[in-house]
């Protein structure tokens, strides 16, 4: 059967083009791959190669024709032994003329023989799936509470998961022989050996990608960034390779991996070492983002993160590493990812924070109590997925909200919380939501300026009083 050559689309956006030149004439032999014509698009002149073999039986659109719609038949190729007489002129003559006189693409398209491409449906996007998060497990009465630093709690979480599952391993800069740049991986090398506790070269982009590759192959890496400031070198791998692969593979290939390390400002290390990435990672579908403030939460959530089948960003804090708090002494203490915690119940104003921000928030709540304001303090613990329900329920009670974060204000986590509260509890609000955040500057080195750049207890107290109109 004679084969029609159609006007090809030569770019993602092309709808029509000019047939500049025929390089073969009727009767010429054609091999697959031969250039038969030149077509001008809005961007360039492109060569059209034949995809079939045979003889150029008939040219349907002469050279020099402008605005030929994509999918218009432009020539007919005859197969072996086929005669010109076999050409059925499926298109009426006026159609050819239409092409020549640059008729609108629409009329052409409807008559072209090409299989119909499904017209873009104006389908409504389905509802995003609702979040079902379990509550914290009950801690049996009489459970011994052991005071430990967050540093020790994190180490114990990794050690327990490594004992439990031989596919779990830890890699990063100085995690093994040096015992961790911040001593979080202390003694892991001694217990698990160099095969499972791996010192990497200083090569964040490379080892993040290598870890993701190992995860695609089914291992469960815990990748330590010495700090998340250095993870910007690796963020392409974290987002493009770790977060998106499950979706891009239609659910076939996932990536069970934890990226952890200190995030945000430490003290006096200036702009390049003092950035909060909570908002950055929480922007990305496919990632989970956790940022605990206590030793118990750190342990329970890191164990959950290592077991989670998805890539998890686990944001720690250098200042909190040395803080001690009670951790339940249980064989397997695991907390649910995605669940906020009401750390201090109250009735007058809701304060939401996480990680280091909780230190300021809780001190502010104490001060506010002294002034007769009863603040409810919520520790978000997980930034993504966000526990909107706990926040909204609280605001329905208090009618006032203050968010606290170390990160910058624009497009920050506080902005997201404010938007969700507006969407879900607008009628309950008695005052605009107040955001206390890091100032819109790179972190200064000078001690006095650094202090000013970070959120402070005083600012939270002031914001809480403002939303209470006091």
């Amino acid at each position: 059967m004679p084969t029609e050559v159609l006007m090809p689309a030569l770019s993602p956006t092309m709808e029509k083009g000019n047939l500049a030149k025929w390089l073969k004439k009727e009767g010429d032999k054609i091999k697959s791959g031969d250039v038969i014509a030149e077509i001008e698009t809005d961007k360039a002149t492109m060569e059209v190669e034949a995809a079939d073999e045979g003889t150029l039986g008939k040219i349907l659109v002469p050279e020099g024709t402008a605005d030929v719609a994509v999918n218009t038949p432009i020539a007919v190729i005859l197969g072996e032994g086929e005669d010109k007489a076999a050409i059925k002129v499926t298109k009426p003559a006026q159609q050819r003329k239409a092409a020549e006189s640059a008729a609108p693409a629409k009329a052409e398209k409807s008559q072209a023989k090409a299989p119909e491409t499904p017209a873009p449906k104006a389908a409504k996007a389905p509802e995003a799936p609702a979040l079902q998060i379990a509550s914290d497990p009950d801690i049996p009465e009489g459970t011994e509470m052991v005071s430990m630093t967050m540093r020790e709690a994190l180490r114990d979480a990794m050690a327990e998961e490594m004992r439990r599952d031989k596919d779990v391993f830890v890699m990063g800069e100085e995690v093994a022989e040096y015992q961790g740049a911040y001593k979080v991986t202390q003694s892991l090398l001694q217990e698990f050996g160099a095969k499972r506790v791996i010192d990497t070269p200083i090569t964040e982009h490379g080892f993040a990608g290598l870890g993701i590759g190992a995860a695609l192959a089914g291992l469960k890496p815990v990748v330590e960034f010495m700090t998340f400031n250095f993870a910007m070198q690796a963020i392409d791998q974290v987002i493009n390779s770790a977060a998106k692969t499950l979706y891009m593979s239609g659910g076939q290939m996932g990536c069970q991996i934890v990226f952890r390390g200190p995030n945000g400002a430490a003290a006096r290390v200036a702009a390049q070492h003092s950035q909060d990435y909570s908002a950055w990672y929480s922007h990305v579908p496919g990632l989970k983002v956790i940022a605990p403030s206590t030793a118990a939460d750190a342990k329970g959530l890191l164990k959950a993160a290592i077991r989670d089948l998805n890539p998890v960003i686990f944001l720690e804090n250098e200042i909190l590493y040395g803080h001690s708090s009670p951790v339940p002494k249980l064989d397997d203490f695991v907390l649910p990812i995605g669940k906020a915690k009401i750390v201090r119940p109250g009735n007058d104003v809701t304060i939401v924070s996480w990680s280091m921000g909780m230190s300021y928030a809780l001190k502010a709540a104490d001060e506010l109590a002294g002034e007769g304001i009863d603040a409810e303090v919520i520790d978000l613990r997980t930034i993504k997925p966000m526990d909107t329900k706990t926040i909204v329920t609280s605001v329905q009670k208090t009618a006032r909200l203050v968010t606290v974060e170390e990160g910058w204000q624009q497009s920050g986590v506080g902005a997201e919380i404010a938007a969700r509260v507006m969407e879900n509890a607008f009628d309950y609000l008695d005052a605009p939501v107040a955001r206390v955040s890091g100032k819109d500057v790179p972190m200064p080195y000078a001690a006095n300026l650094e202090k000013l750049a970070l959120p402070s207890v005083a600012e939270i107290v002031e914001a809480a009083k403002a939303v209470c109109y006091r």
Binding site: A9, E49, A125, F207, A215, N240, M248
Partner: protein
């Protein structure tokens, strides 16, 4: 300036001695890739395939020769010019084509497209759209092999363009440091999009790019499937015996533009024709088959027609398969 095809280093100009079965099977797979890509180009022209579409025409001998040295459990990973790699690993033309058209029964349910397809079953780990990103990932696959103590290898493909990305060298360093079983196959088709290798690279002999890491490398005639197999065999043996990574620079050529919308004005028609006429991997295999009387003209015609049937069937399937259900929008973000 056009870069003359370099002479491969002496030791890998040697070719594997192919049996009749090997020669015919390689011919069939190379032809399948060629016909698949021609059809994809055609369907792109008809608006059935959207976005970016990078065709593999001309480079078929590379993946087909390499695949011949792999065994169960070995992994393959590459960049975005990936259709040939998928077909070589045994993924079905129907599923690949249906992914190109963005349909429900594509390998990624229509959510990945040309550059993002995977098959756990066939050991194909993508399909990656960011130039060079697959190199640390492939190194990680090799890490998993070493961690598990098996003798599988990861074949990590990238192009002459990706060879200038920093993460490639971060990977080289770790791979040699930890003796990871990874074959880095650099598909040097002479052009990184529109920039010829001599305009982009201080060292154009890419097989030497591992020298400062002590990774051995060979230049290979990537247009001869037998040379590819011979070189691959040597590299795989090196990796499987625990000696670490190996670099194979495949000297190859793509006939089409970088992607469908590339007019390829950076090279002459004569340059393309020279390779197509004198070095085409499929024509050369065909010639050998006839010379050695492994098959008759008629038998080859039969293969050609069987291959066309497979491709036409795939195209037909990919044209009529439905788009993914709207309920698929939110699935596979988390598991």
């Amino acid at each position: 300036m056009a870069v003359a095809q370099k002479t491969p280093s002496a030791d890998t100009r040697s070719v594997a001695d192919f049996s009749k079965e090997q020669e015919l099977s390689a011919y069939r797979t190379m032809l399948t890739i060629r016909r698949f890509e021609e059809k994809a180009g055609q369907m792109y022209g008809m608006g059935l395939i959207g976005g970016f579409c990078h065709l593999y025409i001309g480079q078929e001998a590379v993946v087909v020769g390499m695949q011949m040295v792999l065994k169960e459990g070995d992994q393959v990973i590459t960049g975005y010019r990936d259709h040939g790699h998928m077909l070589a690993t045994g993924m079905e033309a129907k599923g690949v084509m249906a992914e190109l058209t963005g349909r429900a029964h594509g390998y990624s349910k229509g959510k990945g497209g040309s550059m993002h397809m995977f098959s756990v079953e066939k050991g194909f780990y993508g399909g990656h759209g960011i130039v060079g990103a697959q190199v640390p990932l492939g190194t990680g696959l090799a890490f998993a092999n070493r961690y598990r103590g098996n003798d599988n290898v990861s074949v990590t493909y990238f192009g002459d363009g990706a060879a200038n990305q920093g993460q490639v060298y971060e990977s080289f360093n770790m791979a040699e440091l930890w003796k990871l079983p990874v074959i880095y196959v650099i598909e040097n088709n002479r052009y990184a999009m529109g920039t010829s290798i001599s305009r982009s690279s201080a060292e154009v002999n890419l097989s030497r790019r591992g020298l400062s890491f002590n990774i051995p490398g060979d230049q290979v005639d990537g247009m001869d499937v037998r040379a590819v197999k011979a070189a691959g065999e040597k590299a795989a043996q090196w990796c499987r015996s625990g000696k670490g990574p190996y670099i194979l620079e495949m000297l190859t050529y793509r006939y089409r533009g970088h992607s469908m919308s590339d007019p390829a004005k950076y090279r002459t028609r004569e340059e393309v024709d020279e390779v197509r006429t004198h070095h085409d991997p499929i024509d050369m295999a065909r010639q050998r088959i006839l010379e050695k009387k492994f098959a008759s003209e008629d038998a080859l015609k039969k293969i050609d027609s069987e291959v066309r049937d497979v491709i036409n069937e795939a195209a037909e399937f990919a044209t009529h398969d439905p788009e993914p259900d709207v309920s698929q929008l939110y699935t596979d973000v988390y598991r």
